[in-house]
């Protein structure tokens, strides 16, 4: 593997991201930018939140919380719980891009770029790539997504409140729409379909059984384990 082949793989990642995924995550962060301005933060902090946190739901919790004057330690806990999904996501993507002798700073850098878009698209595209090309491809893909999102966060910050309501609603609909379709596009085995079905089916009741703070955690563990068992029975049959 050479520097040149790494560069080519990274460039393919950039190109694939700019084809559409980067724009989808970017426009969903447009709304986050407007929220940061409402919360009275400087534009630099809005853009930096996209680059550092790289988690739209957590950014929404932070800015909406600051806006409502919530206590900072409570906000930190809420953000911590909401980002728990990154643990299983990062754990499942790291072995895909691992090269022999890879050092931990590289893995921390990969982990930092993991968010739903890079994860869903990575799980869909990476397995079909030759192992040596996966790491540069992932870096190219994810950094293009983050770059576009940083610019659109700034645009959202500057253009707040000039958007018609129907378009603002459409930008907020991007996340659930894209995530659902991408999940279905990447589902291969019975386990994936069961997991998607259970996630949707359990969401309305999870809050009742596990409370507001831990409902998603409980849903993931219970539903995920059930999906795993169903998938395993399928593989054995």
């Amino acid at each position: 593997m050479t520097l040149q082949s790494d560069f080519l793989a990274a460039w393919r990642g950039v190109r694939d991201a700019l084809a559409y995924p980067a724009w989808i995550v970017g426009f969903s962060l447009f709304g986050v930018g407007s929220l940061a301005r409402d919360a009275g933060l400087p534009a630099g902090a809005a853009v930096l939140s996209t680059c550092l946190m790289w988690a739209a739901p957590a950014q929404v919790i932070l800015f909406a919380g600051l806006l409502s004057g919530a206590a900072l330690p409570a906000l930190a806990v809420a953000i911590c719980v909401s980002s728990l999904r990154f643990l299983p996501m990062t754990m499942s993507i790291l072995p895909l891009v691992r090269r022999p002798g890879q050092r931990w700073p590289v893995q921390v850098a990969v982990a930092h770029f993991v968010a739903v878009t890079a994860w869903v698209e990575g799980m869909r595209r990476l397995p079909s790539l030759p192992v040596p090309e996966r790491l540069p491809y992932f870096f190219g893909f994810a950094s293009a997504c983050m770059g576009v999102s940083a610019v659109l966060t700034l645009a959202g910050y500057q253009l707040v409140r000039v958007l018609p309501v129907a378009l603002a609603a459409a930008m907020l609909m991007l996340t659930p729409l894209f995530f659902t379709i991408a999940l279905m596009a990447s589902a291969r085995a019975r386990q994936d379909w069961t997991a998607i079905g259970l996630g949707f089916a359990l969401a309305p009741v999870a809050t009742t059984f596990a409370g507001r703070d831990f409902d998603l955690l409980a849903l993931g563990l219970v539903g995920g384990t059930m999906a795993y068992v169903v998938g395993r029975m399928g593989r054995r049959a």
Partner: protein
């Protein structure tokens, strides 16, 4: 003097790092520690993947059930209709993700506009 006034213009950045960045990033770093030595085809990772997929589907369902901002102005049936249109578009147009997203978005804009201009 409080920390807020002492730090002046740097206060928002300190909040961003301590309240936003660190509690969020801890899971990614923990994943690096926990995944060392795991094979991509191992049973434990297959289970981890199932948990991640279920979690994500749950997050999507919650976004549809109780959305924030302008999306809350669109009735639940409208949000569901937009998702159904998007999925139908995805399967109709040779399993194209972007076609599905665009068709679902078009449906949502139409529904939001129709809901606002006073349906019969």
């Amino acid at each position: 003097m409080s920390a807020e006034t002492a730090l002046g213009p740097w206060w928002p950045y300190l909040v961003l790092i301590l309240v936003g960045f660190l509690p969020n990033e801890i899971w990614r770093v923990l994943a690096v520690v926990l995944s060392s030595g795991l094979d991509e085809n191992s049973e434990i990772l297959t289970w981890v993947r199932a948990v991640a997929t279920t979690l994500l589907a749950g997050v999507v369902a919650k976004l549809l059930l109780s959305p924030g901002g302008a999306l809350a102005a669109v009735p639940f049936a409208g949000r569901l209709g937009s998702l159904a249109a998007g999925l139908a578009g995805f399967y109709a147009v040779r399993r194209s993700v972007i076609a599905g997203v665009l068709i679902g978005e078009a449906a949502l804009v139409a529904i939001a506009w129709w809901a606002r201009t006073g349906a019969p």
